[in-house]
């Protein structure tokens, strides 16, 4: 390369070329960064979609399973009340009346 200080033209051309090369290189790096950023966003979206899907499936399954267990759960809770009534000294007749009330539909 010619001595850039040998003339104003060479000097100006060198200044411009150095900065042009730098900007070109920076733009190339920026383009790579943009591509990576897009890829990162895509991976994050995929992860969020997967988490949402897992959570929705889990929620539906829990709802279905507990819906199936509702009757049993209610029976267990009534049995617990009946035990407490017995421990509390209620008569069999009183307990039977309360059991019927508890088991009846509202």
């Amino acid at each position: 390369m010619d001595d850039p200080t040998s003339s104003f033209e060479a000097y100006a051309a060198t200044l411009q070329q150095v900065m042009t090369d730098a900007i070109q290189q920076a733009e190339a790096l920026q383009a790579e960064a943009n591509a990576d950023r897009e890829a990162a966003f895509a991976d994050k979206d995929k992860m969020q979609d997967l988490l949402r899907q897992l959570e929705n499936q889990a929620q539906r399954k829990a709802e279905d399973d507990l819906h199936a267990r509702y009757g049993q759960l209610k029976e267990e809770m009534i049995a617990s009340v009946i035990r407490k009534l017995k421990d509390g000294g209620k008569t069999e007749e009183e307990i039977e009346g309360l059991r019927k009330a508890l088991e009846g539909s509202r």
Partner: protein
Amino acid sequence: MPGLTSIQRMPVPESSSYKAIMQKMLDDNAKAAAAVVAGAQKVREEVAAEREAARKALLETTQNAPALAAKYYRQHWNRIEKDLREQINRDLATKLLAVSEPPDEVAALLGMPEAEVLEIAQRFGYFEMEVYDFGIPEPDIKWQKMDTTYARVSYEDQGRGGYVIFQLGNTICRFWYEFGGGTTLVFIDVPAEAHWEAQTKIPLAQRDQILNFIGQRVIADKAPEYGYRIEPTSIVIFMD
């Protein structure tokens, strides 16, 4: 022009000085160019790290999907089961209140806060905090708090008489009543002090309070224009 004048007055440097100035400008320019590239490179590396982190997170999430699904299932199960238990509890509380179980007993039986049971009792009219008139039918069961225990008065009519039924917690007392004549509307027979505890199973110390409670309740429920007085063996409802 002042600017031109000043340029014209600037001293002309030697050729070697020109070279030195140009070289410095070239060096500065090269440094600025390098800074531009370095800045871009730094951003590039940060984003690359971000992408790698996102890739790893996705990979880990995919690999841990079964464990995550199990964790979510447990969380939702716990939440829904808690909601269901509360819903069943409220249903059972309503049924127990409907068959005259006192609110505090209901709360203890179901392990519910007493305030929640009271809220249900009020909603269905089984508990009266204060006098109100919403134009809705009065329920038969209406608890009020007497000291620390729930109490209520109900009625069993049998023609010219019947029973005033007083319930204090789980203790139930039935007092016969008959219609009177003249200014007396009703006599409610109550045990004399000497027989109170034997007949009611309630401490004598509470007798006055209970008789006043019954008198006030009867006036409020059945005879708003009347008054009451307590006699040794009766509560008399009379024209005030």
